[in-house]
């Protein structure tokens, strides 16, 4: 009975990566909506984490996020990611206006730590989801203090991986982004027991 209970609440690296990727999916969509990067009519309501989250209907964005996040999941399950940045830039001038950093920190979990590829954690999914919900709420609340994006904007997702990572097809190496005169706000963080995710928003200070 106890073993069954143990296996029931167990989170593996893969499971943790899945949870984080799901969070990233909803988080990025929510940011796209909240920051008004795409028009509001391109979004649909969905219920997740006990919240109403608006997801993009644009097939291009959907496929892009699908591609990026599947690769992210793979790398995350191998603990090869340091940070994932969602960069919002001016579409005409290419100036970086905002950067949402999702920093990943590997944790040891509370299971058997002898094999680093088979780490487990017994944190309850509902607790994790509650933590994620708090972060999502904060993301929607950031609109109140982030500067208005009054130009046509676009976004990109950049992943900070280890130097020895092999790049799959269609993936490029790019430079680190720099925001002139930036201001950073750290939101809440959540942990799956195997990964701790900090969400930080860097934005350009308007004089």
């Amino acid at each position: 009975m106890s073993t069954a209970q143990a296996t029931k609440n167990c989170i593996t690296l893969k499971g943790s990566a899945q949870i984080i990727v799901e969070y990233l999916k909803y988080g990025i969509n929510s940011i796209l909506f909240q920051r008004g990067i795409y028009p509001a009519e391109d979004f649909d309501n969905t219920q997740q984490y006990g919240l109403t989250i608006l997801m993009s209907k644009d097939p291009k964005i959907q496929t892009f996020l699908q591609n990026v996040l599947s690769q992210t999941e793979e790398w995350l399950s191998k603990n090869m990611i340091n940070k994932i940045s969602m960069v919002i830039t001016n579409a005409h001038t290419k100036e970086v206006l905002e950067c949402w950093d999702f920093k990943m920190q590997a944790e040891m979990g509370d299971g058997d730590t002898s094999d680093p590829t088979k780490l487990t954690a017994t944190k309850e999914l509902s607790r994790i989801q509650n933590e994620i919900r708090d972060v999502m709420r904060q993301i929607s609340a950031t609109v109140s203090y982030l500067p208005l994006l009054d130009c046509i904007c676009t976004f990109d997702v950049m992943i900070h991986t280890l130097q020895n990572t092999e790049l799959p097809a269609k993936w490029d190496e790019t430079g680190a982004i720099i925001i002139q005169n930036s201001q950073a706000v750290q939101l809440r963080s959540f942990s799956t027991g195997l990964h701790k995710v900090d969400t930080v928003v860097n934005y350009k200070m308007t004089s």
Binding site: F64, K103, V157, K170, D172, E173
Partner: protein, 730 residues
């Protein structure tokens, strides 16, 4: 009742007897009491006995006592007597009790009997009352019986009477019944008679109905006939209407014909006029010829005049041109003189500037000028080099001055340091003096102690205790005074030092420099602190951004990202927009050019406002012209009508123009009907031709022959006469 009463009486008598017979019992009581008294009789005896007995008993007892002592037989007898006595006493008591009981019983029985008697008395009373009541009732019953008997007898009599009455009624009713039966029979007969009568009437009604139906049928048939006739009448009416319409049409036609006749007369006049004109054609032709010749002559004259005018114009232009040329020539001559003068001046200048022995020429002048320019260039180069040298020197002088200032500053610093060192040396010397003095004192003290020691060791025997102490005190006093002196000197020294310091302070340059240094250091400290805070903030930001050890990681992204796409599209759009801007600019320019052109045109024609004015003017003119035309038309119509009427009245024919092909209908004033008209058409060769009409067939010699014999006016006049005669005859 009497029996009951008697029996009751008997009962009462017996009861009374019983009561009375109880008297002997009473007597018995008496006897009993007598017996009691009998019993009582002896009691006094006994009492007597008793009364005696106590004494006796006492005596007995005494006797017994005595007897016991005296007589034993007597004692036994006394005891026997005593027992008897006791026995008798018990019996007496028992009897007394019995008597009391009996008396009580007797009393109770008496009470019971009394109660019974009273109850019986009451019963007797009640029964008496009842009896009386019953007797009364009985009497009443008897009375009632009698009354009832009377009634019964009466009733029987009444019954008999009623029987009689009913018999009579029965008879009467039977008779009535008979009568009614007879009536019913009569009524039945009557009804049957009536029924038959009704049947007959129904038959008759049936017959009547049949007859009426037949009649109805007949009427219907008649109605249909009438309907048919009515439809016939309708048709007739339609025919009639048609005829009337035809009549109207014919009348119209007649009128038209009349009008035609009238118009014909007009035409006659017209033809007359035209014939006259035709007659005058040759004259006109001659005139025309003449006029043509005249015209030709005029044309040639005009051509000559035009030629002359052209020649004149040509000459005029030639004259103008020549005048212009003359003026130009004059101006050119003036210019020529001016230029010659200038040339002379130039030559002079050349002679002045060129070398004396060389030929004066522009080339020489040019070479001279070039030479001068070269010299000038060399001079300028020298000048610039010397300026740069001077600048260089100035900078070196400035450097040297700066160095000099630095050296001076150094010298000052060194001087200050020297002064400070001097002060320090003085202070050290003073300190040395004080220290040496102290050393002397300490030496003295040590000596004293040494002396003390030697004294205590060597001269114990020599000196007394007192002496020793005195000596020591003296020594100590000396040392104390020495100390006091030293203290005083030291204090003096301190005061002097202080004074010196006070004196030195305002004049001290070291203090100022130190202060300045302090200030600068403080400023630097603040600056550094701010820098540190900034760096801390940046550190925190860096920490938030997490870009430490960034060289361990590489940033990757999907090449097909929305940003790249957006950049591409924006670039494309920019290019497109720029192209469009170019296009629009060109178009704008073109439009502007057109606009200016048009503006010029409009200004040349006098502008839009003028056009509008003109337009309005034209519109007003048009309206007035239209009004005039309408007025003319009305006027013409009225005149035409009048003319037609007058023609009709004068000539007796109305000529109406029918259709567009110049057909004319001629109807006479004296025609018999509106259908009597003649159709005539005018063909291209201005010839009148008669057309067929119903009226044209009615002429007895065919109309063609008549016309062939005469012409139209003659024919119509004969026709008029004929018709007039016919109408007057009828």
């Amino acid at each position: 009742m009497d029996d009951i009463r008697s029996s009751m009486d008997n009962m009462m008598a017996r009861f009374n007897d019983d009561i009375t017979h109880s008297a002997p019992k009473k007597l018995l009581f008496n006897r009993l009491s007598a017996s009691f008294s009998d019993n009582l009789v002896p009691t006094p005896k006994k009492r007597r006995l008793g009364q005696e007995s106590p004494n006796r008993s006492l005596n007995d007892s005494s006797a017994s006592l005595n007897s016991s002592s005296t007589d034993p037989f007597g004692s036994w007898q006394s005891s026997k007597l005593r027992t008897d006595l006791i026995e008798t006493k018990a019996i007496v008591i028992q009897l007394r009790n019995e008597i009391e009981q009996k008396t009580r019983e007797h009393r109770q029985a008496m009470m019971l009997a009394e109660n019974k008697s009273s109850a019986l008395k009451q019963q007797c009373d009640t029964t008496c009352k009842k009896y009386l009541d019953l007797q009364r009732d009985f009497e009443m019953m008897q009375k009632r019986e009698l009354a009832l008997k009377d009634e019964a007898s009466r009733a029987t009599t009444e019954l008999a009477q009623l029987e009689l009455k009913y018999d009579e009624a029965m008879n009467k009713l039977q008779r009535e019944k008979h009568l009614q039966v007879e009536d019913a029979r009569d009524v039945q007969l009557c009804i049957s008679n009536e029924l038959s009568e009704y049947r007959r009437m129904a038959q008759r009604a049936d017959l009547e109905l049949q007859s009426t139906r037949n009649e109805l049928e007949r009427l219907r048939r008649r109605h249909e006939e009438l309907k048919a006739r009515f439809s016939g009448y309708d048709e007739m009416r339609g025919d009639y209407e048609k005829q009337t319409q035809n009549l109207k049409v014919a009348n119209d036609r007649i009128r038209e014909l009349e009008f035609e006749i009238q118009s014909y007369s007009d035409w006659k006049e017209v033809t007359k006029a035209s014939q006259e004109r035709l007659a005058s054609i040759p004259d006109l032709m001659a005139e025309v010829e003449r006029l043509r010749g005249h015209n030709k002559h005029l044309n040639t004259l005009i051509g000559d005049k035009l030629l002359l005018e052209e020649q004149v114009h040509d000459y005029k232009t030639r004259l103008d041109r020549e005048e212009g040329a003359r003026a130009e020539a004059a101006s050119l001559q003036v210019k020529l003189t001016h230029v010659e003068q200038e040339l002379k001046e130039w030559v002079k200048v050349a002679q002045d500037h060129c070398l004396a022995n060389t030929l004066v020429s522009p080339m020489a002048l040019r070479s001279r000028i070039e030479q001068l320019l070269k010299e000038d260039i060399i001079n300028v180069a020298e000048k610039t080099s010397s300026a740069s040298d001077s600048k260089h020197l100035l900078t070196s002088v400035r450097d040297l001055e700066q160095k000099c200032a630095i050296y001076l500053k150094n010298i000052e610093d060194l001087n200050i340091g020297l002064k400070r060192h001097k002060n320090f040396k003085e202070r050290l010397q003073r300190k040395l003096i004080t220290v040496s003095k102290e050393r002397d004192f300490y030496k003295q003290l040590v000596e004293n102690f040494d002396k003390d020691m030697t004294m205590s060791n060597a001269s114990v025997a020599d000196m007394t205790q007192d002496m020793q102490v005195r000596y020591r005190v003296e020594v100590l006093e000396r040392t104390v005074t020495g100390y006091k002196d030293m203290c005083a000197t030291l204090e003096r020294e301190i005061q002097a030092m202080r004074q010196q310091e006070q004196l030195a302070e305002p004049a001290g340059e070291g203090y100022d420099s130190v202060k300045k240094e302090l200030d600068t250091l403080r400023l630097e400290n603040d600056r550094l602190r701010r820098r540190k805070e900034e760096l801390e903030l940046e550190m925190m930001h860096r920490c938030l951004r997490g870009d430490f050890n960034m060289k361990d990681f590489k940033v990757v992204h999907l090449s097909e990202n929305p940003a790249a796409e957006a950049y591409e599209s924006s670039k494309n759009m920019m290019e497109k927009l720029q192209a469009e801007i170019e296009r629009l600019k060109r178009r704008n320019k073109k439009l502007e050019d057109d606009e200016t052109q048009r503006l010029n045109e409009t200004t040349s024609t006098g502008g839009m406002t003028l056009n509008f004015k003109e337009f309005n003017q034209l519109r007003a003119d048009l309206e007035s012209a239209n009004g005039k035309m309408r007025k003319m038309k009305d006027c013409f119509k009225a005149a035409r009508e009048e003319f037609r009427d007058v023609c009709y009245m004068l000539l007796g024919y109305r000529i109406d123009r029918i259709g567009a092909n110049s057909n004319y209908r001629i109807s006479s004033m004296f025609a018999e009907g509106p259908d009597d008209y003649l159709d005539i058409s005018l063909n291209e060769s201005n010839c009148l031709a008669l057309l067929e009409s119903p009226y044209s067939h009615t002429f007895n010699p065919p109309i063609d022959q008549q016309l062939a014999a005469t012409n139209f006016p003659a024919f119509f006049s004969t026709l008029t006469l004929e018709l007039f005669q016919r109408s007057t005859v009828t």
